[in-house]
């Protein structure tokens, strides 16, 4: 089984004037191909910081990060942009769709930056939208879609360039419980078809749908391989 994400002694220090925040204080973590993990922990424990580094949106202060075998912490900005485009899919809590574009055009966007030819772009974007169950909504603008539908468009956009890992930071945080279930069904199906998924959540119900829970505390990994069953107990206790 191949390693997709490998973090070694990752630290992230934020300095605001004299105050220094150790958002990550030495994180070692490995995620293998095909895994379905959730990251949990108290608010401010460093989960988002972690996700941003895994997603190459941010750089660690120190430590090494290998993504799909490539050491990415030393890459220049332009290479990182290419990595984000080719190897990573990111789903945000606030969807972040472009309001002037239709669902279809939003999903085509990563392929534009990848230089995919127009026809292939259109076909692949449609396929991705079919996978998330939105084939009826290709021409709708985000304002014409419900929250759940918007998040599905965002998932389609994240998977359309066939990333090695799909990252999601509280993807259901802005959704009601029924819609949350639908979104989790999609993540489940994607994982079942081979996609590696890492998701941040603070809801035990959400974490229980994954197969591995990583628990964060004060910028460090407290437990790196909890069973989703144990999470329920932790929360109860």
């Amino acid at each position: 089984m191949s390693t997709i994400v490998q973090l070694q002694s990752i630290t992230k220090v934020y300095g605001i004037g004299d105050i220094i925040v150790n958002a990550l204080a030495g994180v070692d973590l490995t995620v293998n191909a095909g895994e379905y993990c959730s990251i949990m922990g108290a608010s401010g424990s460093g989960k988002s910081t972690m996700m941003n580094i895994i997603g190459c949106l941010d750089r660690p202060t120190a430590g090494r990060y290998y993504l799909d075998g490539i050491e990415v912490d030393t890459l220049p900005d332009n290479e990182l942009a290419r990595i984000r485009n080719q190897k990573l899919g990111f789903v945000f809590q606030q969807f972040h769709l472009l309001s002037q574009l239709t669902a279809w055009e939003n999903v085509m966007l990563p392929m534009i930056y990848a230089g995919v030819p127009v026809q292939e772009r259109r076909d692949r974007a449609r396929e991705a939208l079919v996978r998330v169950g939105l084939e009826q909504r290709l021409q709708n603008k985000p304002t014409q879609l419900s929250g759940g539908q918007q998040q599905r468009v965002a998932i389609a956009r994240a998977i359309v360039n066939r990333p090695v890992v799909l990252l999601a930071d509280e993807p259901t945080g802005a959704l009601d419980s029924t819609t949350t279930e639908e979104i989790l069904d999609i993540f489940g199906e994607l994982n079942a078809s081979g996609m590696t998924v890492v998701m941040v959540t603070h809801e035990a119900d959400v974490a229980r749908r994954t197969r591995r829970v990583i628990w964060f505390k004060d910028g460090q990994v407290l437990e790196s391989n909890l069973s989703p069953k144990d999470v329920a107990l932790v929360n109860a206790g």
Binding site: N78, A81, N161
Partner: protein, 405 residues
């Protein structure tokens, strides 16, 4: 990402906020419209001036007092060109057909209760031929008038209209500088020449001017404001110019610098061209400033747009846009805004020229050079003023940008 994609994207963004796009372009539209219109009007004025000049008849030369240098040094012209010079030209220069000595002054002219300060031109019968005027009513100056210093006046059409309002002026008495003159003729309307209205004038015998109005002011004879000469034909203009120059030099015993100038139509056209060319340049400069202001407007709106769209920029970077991609996107937006503004402005400017041409004697001159220049300049302005906002956008940190909700 290629140019086509970037262009596509820019069009989507620009059309998704039409009001803002329109307002931003307005600066460029006004700038370009004024450049095109100003240059067009300036060139129209140039063309009008040269056409009016051609209406003089193609074979006219002017002899004016003062050297070319002196004419540029002072507005006070030495009085040294006399009637005898004109007579000598008529008698001795073979390539000359007709010669009209002219002595002009501004005088107060009155009729009934009306008073008007107007050009009073003392001249000879030849004036009609040389300057191609026609008599509408009555007669022009004749040789008896010259011989006897008669107090007769021939009115330009506008003076006749102002004083007599359609009534027949022939036989009426007008007063020029408090001297009574009898109106014996009215000239046909001729229109204005180089901005001076040729119909707003009163013509009297040259001799009468000298004795009653201006007085003899030169020891050499009856001095003149200038002499109009018509050459036998167009081909003989250079010969006429040469022969007249030689003749007057001899008569004035010139050793060093000429104290007179012979100007052909070409010379005057060149002077007119310099003046209207300067005017055109001035108008264009003023208009260029408004283009610059338009460019600053674009920069302003682009900066606002960058700060409003930080989330969009963050998202684009998160899904793989490089700094160059973002830079290009914003640059293309800026260039499109300004170039589209330029094209629309050019259209408005051409409309303005046509409008001015429809309601004034100016001709519509649409200069392709001006159009190319305006569109290129506005595109460049977009490029220049777009760089700063676009760089701001390109340098945004993706997570900071995404978090800016």
């Amino acid at each position: 990402m290629d140019w086509l994609e970037s262009g596509n994207m820019a069009v989507k963004t620009l059309t998704s906020n039409k009001l803002r796009t329109g307002l931003t372009m307005l600066g460029m539209i006004i700038g370009n419209a004024s450049v095109i219109a100003m240059i067009g009007i300036g060139q129209g004025a140039q063309k009008l001036a040269s056409e009016q000049f051609e209406s003089l008849g193609p074979n006219v030369l002017f002899v004016t007092p003062g050297s070319p240098g002196a004419r540029q040094r002072t507005t006070f012209l030495p009085r040294n060109l006399v009637w005898d010079d004109a007579k000598a030209i008529a008698a001795q220069v073979p390539s000359v057909a007709s010669v009209a000595p002219q002595r002009q002054s501004q005088f107060s002219v009155t009729y009934g209760g009306k008073n008007r300060t107007t050009l009073v031109m003392g001249t000879t019968p030849e004036f009609l031929i040389v300057r191609d005027f026609d008599v509408a009513k009555g007669r022009f100056i004749n040789n008896v008038d010259l011989e006897r210093n008669t107090r007769v006046a021939i009115l330009g059409s506008e003076v006749a209209e102002q004083f007599f309002e359609g009534k027949d002026p022939i036989g009426s008495k007008i007063r020029i500088r408090n001297t009574s003159f009898e109106v014996v003729g009215v000239l046909q309307a001729k229109g204005s020449f180089l901005g001076s209205n040729q119909d707003d004038a009163v013509y009297v015998p040259l001799t009468t001017t000298a004795t009653l109005l201006t007085g003899r002011t030169s020891p050499f004879g009856l001095d003149l404001s200038f002499i109009s000469v018509s050459a036998v034909n167009e081909a003989s203009i250079p010969a006429a110019e040469f022969q007249i120059t030689n003749l007057i030099r001899r008569r004035h015993k010139i050793i060093t610098e000429d104290d007179f100038t012979v100007q052909t139509q070409k010379d005057i056209l060149r002077i007119v061209g310099t003046i209207t060319g300067g005017l055109t340049a001035l108008l264009a400069a003023i208009a260029a400033v408004s283009l610059l202001v338009g460019g600053i407007g674009i920069m302003n709106i682009m900066l606002v747009s960058v700060s409003e769209r930080t989330q969009e920029i963050g998202l684009r970077k998160a899904i793989g846009a490089s700094e160059q991609d973002i830079l290009m996107q914003f640059m293309i937006e800026a260039v499109m805004l300004s170039a589209a503004g330029g094209i629309i402005g050019t259209g408005v400017g051409i409309g303005g020229i046509l409008l001015v041409a429809a309601f004034s004697p100016l001709q519509a001159v649409v200069s392709p050079v001006a159009i190319t220049l305006a569109v290129t300049v506005s595109g460049t302005i977009g490029l220049v003023f777009g760089v700063f906002p676009a760089r701001q956008a390109a340098r945004l940190d993706p997570i900071v940008a995404l978090r800016s909700a």
